[in-house]
């Protein structure tokens, strides 16, 4: 998995269950894409119970990141190119 620590991220939600993080994205962001586990966002293979919701908000990507001991975090990262790539995915 890519190194999340090298990203300039903001934590939107922490210590959530995976389902809570998915519901949060769908309720909070008008635009999102559903992807399968293993889909690459930036350099990270996202994990989760399919479908995994990836939020899009302006130039920001919001995606789940799960750690075995700390549950699921939602990370918000600004990147125009990645947002454009994700927007090109059919809903």
């Amino acid at each position: 998995m890519g190194c999340v620590e090298s990203m300039n991220y903001e934590i939107v939600l922490r210590d959530a269950t995976f389902k809570e993080s998915r519901d949060f994205i769908k309720k909070t962001y008008a635009e999102f894409r559903d992807v399968e586990p293993g889909f690459k966002v930036f350099d990270v293979h996202v994990i989760g119970l399919p479908p995994i919701a990836i939020g899009l908000d302006g130039d920001f990507v919001i995606f789940p990141y799960t750690k075995p001991c700390h549950g699921t975090f939602l990370l918000r990262v600004e990147d125009k190119e990645e947002v454009a790539r994700l927007r090109a995915i059919k809903k």
């Binding site: 998995m1 269950t17 995976f18 399968e36 586990p37 293993g38 293979h45 994990i47 989760g48 119970l49 399919p50 799960t66 750690k67 075995p68 001991c69 700390h70 549950g71 699921t72």
Partner: protein
């Protein structure tokens, strides 16, 4: 040479969860032993703490074979560079459920979920993907989980 077939041994991946519940390390070593006796090659994937608990407990590698970082295992399976015949996911929290669902989606392995801890019944209800659950209320005492594992005998399947 022609006509010769090379049969690869069966393989298994043990996906470890957070090691904060003591039975995980004990059951992992027990399962590795049973798999090896059945001729199945086990690989362990966990975070640094979970892996180190096993490596320190088995310095001469009587039980342990390959041990790898969990994130690396996810990448290799996702990129189809490697896969396993069986996959055992240790679950005592929501992150464990998340990893199990992921393995079910990305791997062709037969998935076994090993569910334990104080909240094992709630976690068991969340197994809504193809898997064989092995569950017991075990926190410090591994025997209830060992019993559940022996009843399923995944090394013989």
């Amino acid at each position: 040479m022609t006509g010769e077939s090379t049969t690869q041994p069966a393989t298994a991946l043990l996906v470890l969860g957070c090691p904060q519940v003591p039975v995980q390390t004990s059951i992992a070593l027990y399962l590795i032993n049973r798999l090896k006796k059945a001729g199945i090659v086990p690989t362990v994937a966990g975070n640094k703490a979970a892996n180190t608990l096993l490596v320190v407990a088995d310095p001469d590698r009587h039980y342990l074979g390959e041990v790898m970082d969990l994130d690396r295992a996810i990448v290799m399976i996702t990129e189809k560079k490697r896969d396993f015949d069986r996959c055992f996911v240790f679950i005592h929290n929501d992150a464990g459920v998340t990893y199990a669902g992921t393995m079910s989606a990305i791997s062709k392995a037969k998935i076994y979920t090993i569910i334990y801890g104080e909240h094992y019944e709630e976690l068991l209800k969340q197994m809504d993907f193809p898997c064989t659950p092995i569950a017991a209320k075990a926190v410090h005492n591994p025997l209830p989980l060992k019993k559940a594992l022996d009843e399923v005998a995944p090394w013989a399947a």
